[in-house]
Symmetry: C2
Subunit: 608 residues, 2 copies
């Protein structure tokens, strides 16, 4: 009996619904009163408010009561937030109360997530989900398709679609031009189409999906299907866990067609210039050999966060008599059977290419210059992603949208703290595997702070391999490994290493990664604009390839840059899906003339 009473008291004391309701009421009172200070007091000393567009017209994380106060002082007057409610029953575990919330602003509706610790906010996520009066026409709002009744002015769907395709970019100008028609450009194009923003996607390949199809033939997605959905049309329930590259290519092609995107294939963007006076871009594209000038207000570079190859310049490269190319241009192993290949690099592409060469009886050597983080695909799926992106997660009600928001709710500043224990688990689980690799001479790391793959991806977009089989070949010597050396020079038929070793080679693959996306801005626009916007990607974590100071969000991605009307979009399929929503809403608001005062426009600390 005492037990029962104690339990009841405890339940009342920590009733998560009441705690959240109380907090939200106080928060809303402070906001309604226009009192940033009072609102800030509801946040813990160590706390994070991450806002995706709803308050800041930016992607922004502010920290602690001071950060909250500063942000609200700048935004409260025009944002006019209201109507904060929970959308499902709050929960409590380990002293943290969690709640899903909805809210409104003057111009939009939002979704959010709140974590309370000891009655104060620890993390708050606010995201803009739609603009009032500009909702996506889906579900109950879906278009009728047929226009009932009879009219002598009727045009059919096909006639309208054809007319639009003929006129856009000629008689009429798109509001947005997206350079790059891979998954990023396609996902953003689909969002903009649904929001009725005239958009042209420019892609140099003949068909949507070719940027996947043209890569080495054994390539499959390294991320599982649950993580990879595009907006609006999820992969079907029979879709493979890891899409083969040609299959994902076909999906992107059909998606582009079915979503009715204005997709200019076989079209290369050759230059872009911002016409300050007109407030628009002058974009020159060559479409099937003919130059066109487009004049969009907004220019999005979606050329791939891994789009611009880092081609190294080693002494003697010009003398090499065999085949040599960057990994992005590697055609696959078929032509090299029985020959000798040297692959310089030890990340994802290097491993995939080495394994495919070995499978085709090529004598292959991997040259590892610096340490690499290896994580086994199974372990990553189960320990790293399973809670949010897996069949089990779907079964237990974690929809893709929910998973994306949970992931987004973890502030980058403390994300590594959540990641480290997961990678400790993987390290233990796969201890024997890692031992075998080290015995073969492979230089391993788990990131400078042991936070593993995802943080490496966010910080630098490189430095890892998700093992789907190549590591065993390295461990057992099938793929020969030379590690801890540099390249001295390339000779006619060999690679000469810094320790003097000479590796005979018929083929050299430079799996040397990719540069910052503002390299594209330099090529297409100007060095000046590239310097003005600065480095793209990374958090400012002060780890290798991601210098400080701390920036709080990914540099220049999916948000306003220092160059008016210039945006960067991309990332993996998850990011292309999730962040295309926020970039599309930012563009739509500008298209509709809705004021978009940006809070905390990022500063430039690094040029590229």
């Amino acid at each position: 009996m005492t037990d029962t009473i104690d339990h009841a008291v405890e339940e009342i004391g920590t009733d998560p619904a009441a705690a959240v309701a109380g907090w939200l009421a106080s928060f809303e009172d402070a906001l309604a009163a226009g009192d940033p200070e009072a609102a800030a007091e509801l946040f813990g000393a160590s706390s994070f408010w991450r806002d995706l567009v709803a308050f800041t017209w930016n992607l922004k994380t502010v920290e602690g009561p001071e950060g909250v106060k500063d942000m609200l002082a700048s935004t409260l007057d025009h944002v006019k937030p209201s109507d904060f409610r929970t959308s499902e029953e709050p929960t409590e575990a380990d002293g943290v109360t969690e709640a899903w919330i909805t809210f409104e602003t003057e111009v939009g509706r939002g979704l959010g997530h709140l974590r309370l610790k000891e009655g104060k906010a620890w993390t708050l996520l606010t995201t803009l989900s739609e603009l009032k009066g500009h909702e996506v026409p889906k579900r109950a709002r879906r278009p009728m398709g047929a226009e009932h009744g009879a009219s002598k002015e009727r045009r059919t769907w096909l006639e309208k679609r054809r007319q639009e395709a003929e006129q856009l970019g000629h008689e009429t100008q798109p509001y947005v031009v997206i350079v790059g028609g891979g998954q990023g450009g396609i996902a953003l194009g689909a969002r903009l189409r649904q929001l009725d923003v005239p958009t042209i996607i420019v892609e140099r390949h003949p068909r949507p999906g070719d940027s996947w199809r043209n890569r080495y033939k054994s390539l499959c997605l390294h991320d599982p299907v649950w993580y990879d959905h595009l907006p609006y049309i999820p992969f079907p329930e029979n879709w493979p866990v890891f899409s083969p590259k040609d299959k994902i290519g076909d999906w992107l092609e059909m998606y582009t067609r079915v979503m009715e995107l204005n997709y200019w294939s076989s079209t290369e963007c050759t230059s872009a210039r911002y016409d300050e006076e007109a407030g628009e871009w002058v974009v020159v594209v060559r479409r099937e050999g003919v130059d066109h000038t487009l004049r969009p207000k907004q220019l999005v570079l979606a050329t791939g966060m891994s789009g611009k190859p880092n081609v190294p310049s080693f002494k003697g490269m010009e003398d090499f008599k065999g085949d040599q190319h960057h990994s992005s241009l590697h055609p696959g192993p078929d032509d090299y059977r029985g020959k000798k290949a040297v692959v310089i690099g030890s990340n994802n592409s290097a491993h995939d290419i080495c394994a495919a060469l070995w499978e085709n009886d090529v004598d292959v050597t991997m040259v590892q210059r610096t340490s690499t983080h290896i994580v086994r695909s199974d372990s990553l799926m189960e320990i790293g992603l399973g809670a949010l992106y897996s069949e089990e997660a779907v079964e237990s009600g974690v929809t893709t949208q929910k998973a994306d928001l949970i992931f987004a709710s973890l502030p980058y500043r403390i994300m590594h703290e959540f990641q480290i224990p997961l990678y400790d688990q993987m390290r233990e689980r796969d201890a024997e595997f890692y031992e075998r690799l080290e015995r073969a001479g492979f230089m391993l790391d788990f990131g400078e702070d042991g936070s593993g793959l995802f943080m490496k991806y966010l910080r630098r977009g490189s430095g890892y391999y998700i093992d789907v089989g190549a590591s065993e070949l390295v461990a057992d010597g099938s793929i020969k490994l030379i590690s801890g050396v540099g390249i001295d020079r390339i000779a006619e038929h060999s690679v000469i290493l810094s320790d003097g070793t000479e590796l005979e080679a018929d083929l050299i693959v430079y799996a040397t990664g990719y540069g910052s996306m503002n390299g594209w801005a330099a090529d297409l626009i100007s060095d000046e604009v590239a310097r003005k916007v600065g480095k793209v990607w990374g958090l400012g974590s002060d780890t290798r390839k991601d210098p400080g100071p701390w920036e709080g969000e990914q540099r220049n991605m999916w948000k306003p840059t220092q160059q008016e009307g210039l945006w960067f979009h991309g990332g993996n399929l998850h990011q292309s899906r999730h962040y295309s929503q926020f970039l599309a809403l930012q563009l739509k608001a500008r298209y509709e003339g809705i004021p978009t005062p940006v809070y905390g426009l990022q500063e430039v600390h690094h040029l590229g």
Copy 2:
């Protein structure tokens, strides 16, 4: 207090969960004991057990205890049903208790639905959902895509797919050939692909979806999106309510590609013959001008339940100097602006074509020879379909699968009783509309028993128009109407009616409907086989164009016919989706050599 007690007693007395549990336990006991008589006693005097493949390897409805006893006496020994359970909480309303059930048989797993009245079964639906050991590789069973590990025998997805496409129909034979690559053939092809049954779909048009694209340009689906989903890839949530024909064409094209169907387009099936000795078909197809012979074990005609045009033969047709064609060949109104058109017929196509002609300033006259059932699209959506197929239905948890099973659970014998009140409602709601039409001389009906559109569709597949606007044009005289007359003959520039009226015409459209699908069997195979299988479609309702005797299920559709290895598939998108499951399982079982003793193979009462 008395109230409360009474209420409690009442609740116990009618507890639907207990009632269902009790019934299922008795039912399973009787089945386990191999006692058809005991099982039959659990059914009411007026009762219906509809089985889709699970017990009968057929689509079969048996009636009353006698029907149940007969069916079980023939099937119980080999079916070995077991493990009947409810899958959600049973409900009770108006004296009928309803339950969703699952069960197993010796070879498969099933879903079902049960309605009890006064403790006895009123309706029972049993459906086969999968074969044990041959489950569809979806969700947790989805393929990996990438094969982890390294192997010198590795072939990529693309290499395998290409090899299959090159070999199937040449070095290797398909187990199934589907003639007709419209929605029916495509949906069945997708199911068979997922079940790993080698299949070729033969389609005369160049691209999947062309059978829609080639029709008159104003055509949109008359059924709403919720009713139209294909298997595995539902339409996205932004899909229009009524798909324009070219948009559905594009969807079918991408679906065929993404589902990896072996789809031989630009291929005409020119003949088929059953080789009794070999137990296989000899199917000759002309693919891009070259003849191939295919030797499948199973031949499916999916040429459209509205596939074979009824072209009338009126006196003088050969003398007509203008354009004349069957509605299926009508190109749309563009070439007829300012001219005079006569459309013979008054069903869906006639109305759509008349409206499009009027919209393009054609002087158009509709000749109505017999009465037509008209139902307004809005009313049909709200009253006829809304409970099962609508955004509201989806919101309230009625998934497409559930809607299909609820619909399937209503036995055809009594379905009109459920339909009549709905059409009474529509008649009342739209009374003024119907009055206007009748004032214009239009001959209306609601089916012989007032059961409206869906029963007309099931019984004869014709005799109605879903009004999306043309009826107002008829009512206000924009479309001229001549009704209650026949055609006497066609002259050089006119149509002469049976009452002597002469209608000038530059264009005559014969919107005269379609014949029975066994007409295709006559063309492709032989008159003998066409007669052997008999009329396709209809229930034997003893109403116009659907002569008795009562057959209980659609004649010859989706189930074994009197011709070994010959099947008919098709219908609207709903039927193509729903029944392709049962046809695919029947074919898969045969492919795997699982015994499929057919109970109650249909008899032939009508030749065509």
